[in-house]
Amino acid sequence: MNISKIANKVTNLPGYVLEKTANSKFIQWQAKENAISPVAVATFTTLVSVVSKDAVGCYYYVTQSLKNEKIPEEKRKFVASLDLANGILNVALQSVLGGAFGIKVGEYFDNNLSKKLFSVDKAAEKVKAKLNYNIEKIKNIKDINNMKPEDLKKELKKAKLKKLPKVDGAVISNIEENDDIIKNYVEKYAKKLLKKKKIASAGFTAIVTLIITQIIAKRIFVPLIATPMASTIKAQMEKREAANPKAAASASPQVAVTKTTGGVKESDKTPECFKNFR
């Protein structure tokens, strides 16, 4: 095989991988589900993303602890089990909370928030307000019909208008009377907005799920639960050590307490970046 052939294969690789992925059953399933229930898909992908990162982080913690020669052999399992407990707590709490609230949040959005956000009446109000505003502005410009174009431009700039509204002062009172017509037009342009209803619902679910898992579960609950849990495990380990003094003597004292969870204090055994995933 000559070099150009190899180079060709290498440059083709991303395309090949992508084509295979696009054909995969998983992507097919995802595209199908996304069409029917985007909220569920958004919750699912968000959870998989955050939980898998935590799981990978936890794996690194545990393997690093087990391989770390700075920690005496007897302590390694203890430190690693703490890492594991922390990881499991993170994964479990995030999955449970995210899974429990995800769909409910979507339902809440559909039943309450979306009615406010996607209200055609409100949009019509907005348009009417803008119409009124535009009309009021040109009302103050005197002699608008006989003005030179450059002067008109200046006046409009003063009034902070980009262009001259097509409605003249005489029909202001008609805005209220033409409610239905205006609403009809607004509805037409609001349709694009209405199409986004499901997508917005999915986006809302995703962001709330993220706040629940990443901020409340991971940063508030897990540290609070993990710290007393760590103390319990530590106390149990010390009990065992007391029953087996040989092992206790060989362990250096400061390593035994190097690790408390929640990022309070951590030994330098773990790469910094994975501490980010706690």
Binding site: A22, V167, N174, I215, R219, G262
Partner: protein
């Protein structure tokens, strides 16, 4: 309600010129016309939903939103809980040292993951939008060359016209998308010009292949129809199920075979309805009666809307079909307003069969594009997760290198005391 009954209900109504909306149009004064014109302009201009745009952004850039929220927690919430953790008995310097690590790691993670994710998204969007130029025939399943991706075009327009403002960019993107789409539709129509409707194979009309229907509007409509039917059946039987049971029942009813059958039916129904509408319009339309046709269509639209709402309240599966009719009426008005009578000229000398063929070809292409968009978005969201994971070793290395140095430079006392403590 059956559609035939619906037809009966709207036709006489349209003839009566003095009913609600019709009257407004027929006796429209100049002043009212101006108001309507301006209302349409303002409606186009007024931004109807800032929050909605934000939420759409979250959905479309899921992985970036994930990274940013996680970073927000790491940078602002974690330090507080580290510094004020009631269970922690560490000294103040150790706490500060640990707490300071969080924002630094958050910044590094955000820079790496957002950058890489952005690049990945741009790459895949470009590949999809230029799939027709791919020498190896890859990217067929996400081929968007017939309607290039928004973000891809936006970047291109920005690069070529740096002086454009946001609106100009948006308009240019839309124009280019439409141009490309209609060009490919016309090319396809020319390619198939000698074939009769009955001679068109599945290959010619790729959309009418079920696999490609998955995720499109018709597929969604088929699902909605089945869902409504299940609900109505349960209601008739007097059964009340929990939400979970209902979801299960719907899932059981919506088998792939049934969905396929329904989706095909809906596609056929839609193309026929659209063709009828187009021919009807082409026959009727003359420059002087454009306004009257718009008024009639508006009337039909508002009647249909009432029927849709009624059916919706009852949970009647016919709502899907009624909605289609409503959409078609609306599209008709849109087109008339946008292109005047030009759009209908194309169909004025066509037989039903020829017109149906034209509509089918268009449907085939627009729906293939939708299908590709669905796949692209799925690949983007899962690819994003993998790509973000792949950056971990690099951001990790950088953090290990940078963090002690930053601390030593900006908070030497904390860093020093931590060191001496460790040395003990």
């Amino acid at each position: 309600m059956k559609i035939s009954a619906l037809n009966e209900s709207y036709k006489p109504a349209a003839r009566k010129a003095n009913v609600a909306f019709g009257s407004a149009n027929t006796v429209m004064t100049d002043a009212t016309k101006k108001i309507v014109e301006e209302a349409a302009n303002v409606a186009k201009e007024v931004k109807l939903g800032g929050l909605v745009d934000f939420l759409e952004g979250i959905k479309n850039h899921g992985e970036i939103a994930n990274t940013l929220t996680t970073a927000l927690g790491t940078a602002f919430v974690a330090p507080i809980f580290i510094a004020f953790n009631p269970f922690s008995k560490e000294d103040k310097d150790t706490k500060t040292y640990s707490a300071m690590r969080q924002p630094i790691s958050a910044v590094i993670t955000v820079v790496f993951q957002v950058l890489v994710n952005n690049k990945f998204n741009h790459w895949i969007e470009r590949m999809a939008s230029t799939a027709n130029e791919s020498k190896n025939g890859f990217f067929k399943k996400i081929d968007l060359s017939r309607k290039p991706n928004d973000a891809f075009l936006k970047a291109d327009v920005k690069y070529n016209h740096p002086s454009y403002n946001d609106k100009q960019i948006r308009d240019e993107v839309k124009k280019r998308q439409d141009d490309t789409l209609y060009k490919s539709i016309n090319t396809e129509r020319e390619r198939l010009v000698n074939k009769k409707l009955t001679e068109l194979s599945d290959k010619d009309l790729e959309y009418f292949d079920y696999e490609k229907m998955v995720g499109t509007d018709e597929y969604k409509a088929a699902h909605e129809e089945i869902e409504l039917e299940v609900k109505q059946k349960l209601k008739n039987e007097g059964q009340e199920l929990s939400k979970k049971q209902l979801r299960k029942a719907i899932k059981a009813a919506a088998t792939p075979e049934k969905l396929k059958e329904r989706a095909v039916k809906i596609v056929e129904r839609r193309v026929i309805a659209e063709t009828e509408n187009k021919l009807d319009l082409a026959k009727k339309i003359k420059p002087e009666n454009k306004d009257q046709i718009i008024a009639d269509t508006e009337q039909r639209k508002s009647d249909l809307k009432k029927l849709v709402e009624k059916a919706k309240a009852k949970g009647d599966p016919a709502v899907v079909e009624l909605k289609e009719r409503f959409d078609i009426a609306e599209k008709q008005i849109d087109k008339l307003e946008k292109y005047g009578i030009e759009a209908s000229k194309k169909y004025s000398d066509k037989t039903f069969e020829e017109a149906l063929k034209m509509v089918k070809i268009k449907k085939s292409i627009t729906s293939s594009v939708k299908f590709a968009e669905g796949r692209l978005s799925a690949i983007k969201s899962w690819g994003g997760i993998l790509v973000a994971m792949a950056t971990l070793p690099f951001s990790c290395g950088l953090l290990n290198w940078a963090y002690p140095r930053i601390m030593e430079k900006f908070m030497p006392e904390v860093s020093k005391s931590k060191k001496t403590k460790e040395a003990k």
